[in-house]
Amino acid sequence: MSTGTQDKPRRSAGGWLLIAMPFLWLMVFFLAPFFMVFKISFSEVAVAIPPYLPTFDLSDGLAGIKDAFSTFSFDNYIWLTEDDLYWKSYLSSVKIAAVSTLITLLVGYPVAYGMARSPKAWRPTLLMLIILPFWTSFLIRVYAWIGILKNEGLLNQFLLWTGLIDQPLIILNTNLAVYIGIVYSYLPFLVLPLYASLEKLDISLLEAASDLGCPPWKAFWKITLPLSIPGVIAGSFLVFIPAVGEFVIPDLLGGSNTLMIGKTLWVEFFSNRDWPVSSAVAVILLMILVIPIVLFQNQQQKAAEKQA
């Protein structure tokens, strides 16, 4: 019974250790790196290893930081506003992500709805089939579309064979291919939360509506859709936020005129080796995404608390 008395203080040493380990890990490897990005974004590019000029050093103490602030360079940010490549990249990323989220929603809603209304015995298998693509490589799934969308690819071969077209459609290396790639890759992310909220829906509500003479489409509009909104929101965030910063899809499926900020950052970093500018690009991308990310977190937290 000795443990009983040891437990008296609300949290034992073990309890604190349990909190401290994952907490510290995330502080060091998730939070601290953002400050590094922020810091380097004020630096200047240099021919050195690492390829930027030092900004400030915390070991100099407060005076050192003050000193550094006076030499802080906003050049990278000014550069971002002057060169319209960056503006256009941000705008076009947000646009591509928003449109793809909408298309994913239109494609995913009937699937999630069909799953939730399917016989109970089918559901575990259907759920498994939705989850399975999560586990298959993202890169592979994007790659698979190259062979389909190419000029001499399978889709064009099929359409030419059916006689629907007599000239191959140019899809690969256009924005259309990027839309297809995003919708395809992120569809399971949308279907899962949507299915979860549609499955919980009390079917007797719909039966009551139909008994009272409400046509099915109206019952859907008045009952099903409003009750599935939490799933719609969670799913849309899960598609929209990562899609804004997507790199692989615009790089492999998009063309040279497909502007997306993830790709711009990548090129800035790996091809131009301009670490300060790519850091500044990342800081602004983060600023654009911070509101949707916070909204998403709050919603997740609320959902988690409701479950508990």
Partner: protein
């Protein structure tokens, strides 16, 4: 209305799942193509698989990738399970919302930001980049997925069993290993597998955090894909898809069997009590 699924529902399911699976199916089919042209069928052949076995660079990359995935998934599972316990069990503490924020944010954070920020951290720490920095990076983002998966398992958990054990004088760590862990094990295993496959799959974060000598399979595939579609890549992809599919199916059968067993045990226990 209750007479089975409507034609609309069946149609949307069929179309939706064909959309999801057709591209992968075509990829697998064309990995067995005799012709070098990926999109023109020239007869059945396994020659591209034979060719793969001779590609030492690709095999080396695969070995590095598997090692990274195994180690990072294992560390991430420990940290992620701890984080899930904190989220569900630890009640209020200072920094709790920061903590849960740091768990949920990486799930949606664009990979380019995660990769770049970790790289800059490693550079600032003067850390030589390579095998271990990829492991640190992968552990960081996959532990959040583990935490979310394990958390959902912990939420539906009957706490009174744990309390009973502690009332009987079982120390917390022992209670965890004897009672909590066996019950949440399916979640922990699913978390490990998710972490493993996410690590196996990652191109962007690995590209930022790697150094000389540590090229992973996705990096290798990516650099070849940029040069064009080849049957060899189809073959590599087919092997990966097959491995992952078998793993997931095996795991889900194991979980199901365990669930059935537990339900049977519970029924037996209640039967004995009644």
């Amino acid at each position: 209305m209750k007479s089975g699924p409507s034609w609309f529902n069946v149609t949307s399911l069929v179309l939706g799942f064909s959309f999801l699976y057709l591209p992968i199916l075509l990829l697998v089919v064309f990995s067995f193509n005799e012709s070098r042209l990926v999109t023109v069928w020239g007869g059945f052949s396994t020659k591209w698989y034979v060719e793969l076995m001779k590609n030492q660079q690709l095999i080396d990359a695969a070995i590095i990738t598997l090692k990274v995935a195994f180690l990072s998934a294992s560390i991430a599972t420990i940290l992620g399970t701890m984080a899930a316990l904190v989220l569900v069990r630890s009640g209020r503490f200072i920094g709790r919302s920061l903590f849960s924020g740091m768990i949920f944010a990486p799930l949606v954070m664009p990979e380019v930001i995660l990769g770049l920020s970790l790289l800059l951290l490693f550079v600032a720490m003067d850390q030589a980049r390579g095998f271990w920095t990829i492991i640190l990076a992968h552990t960081t983002f996959t532990m959040c997925y583990v935490a979310v998966v394990v958390q959902s398992r912990l939420v539906g958990f009957d706490k009174s069993i744990e309390e009973a054990a502690e009332d009987l004088g079982c120390p917390p760590v022992r209670t965890f290993f004897l009672i909590t862990l066996p019950i949440i094990l399916p979640g922990v295993i699913a978390g490990w597998m998710l972490a493993f496959t996410l690590s196996l799959d990652d191109l962007v974060i690995a590209s930022f955090t790697t150094g000389p000598g540590a090229t992973t399979l996705p990096m290798k595939i990516y650099s070849q894909v940029r040069l064009g579609v080849t049957p060899e890549i189809n073959a590599v992809c087919t092997i990966l898809v097959a491995l992952v599919t078998m793993g997931v199916i095996a795991a889900s059968i194991a979980t199901k069997r365990q669930q059935v067993q537990r339900e049977r045990d519970e029924r037996a226990a209640f039967g004995a009590a009644g």
